[in-house]
Symmetry: C2
Subunit: 234 residues, 2 copies
């Protein structure tokens, strides 16, 4: 398996990266195809499709042991067979995402509605063909029994000021989509950690928030430069 | 990449294997998960889903050279970028098929509506999640411009007798689905080869047919045993 290229994504770290692509439709990424794959020719015709499959490597998967059952975050402590999930922790670390194809410019695809992290190696790109791939009638499996764990999202006065300053029209909506789906790991969801201050990078921003009961409160938002200045040893 | 198991399929050879899974809904395959993946646990919960993604290796892909553009059979001689197609001839030989999950028995999945060949190594199995995977609104790309190359399918008197003898209720419908989608390669579609007698194995049957104008005529159908007896050197 040889990478076609590497992803540039609005998601910079595991924490804050959605577990499914459709929950953050405003998310965006680009994929620059390496020259050895002759992107001018190999991408020709793809621009006519509205959606594409991105097959990628879960490259940040450090866990080398195979676990036949895993604990999906939305099952709140219950386990299920790994092949009944889209978990990254699988025998072959292959990820599969249907993304919206926004445009192709030269050797680079621009996509939205994604769930992959900066630096992800891409293994394949295929057109989405509704006749073969779209099964709106498909049953939901155990997912229909999963409890609703979505959070209400609020912004502090400071966070609202920060948003105004950045003048990035999608930023608030994107943060809301991410936090509504509760990015916390099961440990940080324990009641004893309620109110713990957490943060993640999104595009060029560091988003700081805390969760209390079923509400996520965005405390503040900094640019990466502000964050670096603040956290670097003097 | 390590195989999870190998496919047993009604399609025994490249010729006669459909190029997309949805065109032969009656086709069927099974996948026995190797013991090292602890199928009892790793498959648990998957039985609740109606559809699954099978990610597999195009293992019969002998062409080791990379071609950025390919000639899809249904474009009748026109070329297009490999990433705008589902062709097996791609940088990483990864196939992606949404199949209907009929049932799971112990370590074995039974699926239908497939396009893979006997012996295919399976790399991953994932549940189909309509919220993320189903995009009925997706645009068709160049496929909407492809000419209609479907064939009318007829059965000779001999073929009808053979079908009656085998008493396999899906066989006629499945042969019709395969031939309607014209399994011939571009060379055999040349007018000079009109009427050439061709054959492929389907399950335990050898199907012999010829195409004239836009009609495929099934000449006869033999069991594999009859075929072997007929063709073996004495």
């Amino acid at each position: 398996m040889r990478p076609l290229g590497y992803i540039k994504s609005c998601f910079k770290e595991k924490f804050g990266t959605p577990r499914q692509p459709h929950v953050v439709p405003l998310s965006s990424a680009s994929i620059k195809i390496l020259g050895e794959w002759n992107p001018k020719d190999s991408l020709s015709g793809l621009e006519e499709f509205s959606h594409v499959w991105i097959i990628f490597e879960f490259h940040q998967n450090e866990n080398k042991n195979f676990n036949a059952k895993i604990y999906p975050p939305r099952l709140n402590g219950q386990s299920i067979g790994v092949f009944a999930t889209r978990s990254p922790h699988r025998p072959n670390p292959i990820g599969l995402t249907c993304a919206k194809l926004e445009r192709i410019e030269g050797d680079t695809l621009y996509v939205s509605g994604v769930d992959f992290i900066e630096g992800t190696p891409v293994l394949d790109i295929k057109p989405y063909i509704a006749a073969a791939d779209s099964k709106p009638e498909a049953s939901e499996g155990w997912i229909k029994r999963a409890p609703d764990l979505t959070l209400k999202v609020e912004f502090s006065e400071q966070a609202r000021e920060d948003l105004q300053k950045f003048d990035d029209k999608n930023l608030q909506a994107m943060i809301t989509q991410i936090l509504a789906n509760d990015p916390r790991n099961p440990m940080d969801r324990e009641p004893s950690r309620s109110g713990k201050v957490l943060g993640f990078f999104l595009d060029n921003y560091n988003v700081v928030f805390k969760v209390h009961h079923r509400t996520a409160l965005v405390i503040n938002i900094q640019t990466r430069e502000e964050y670096d200045r603040y956290t670097q040893p003097s």
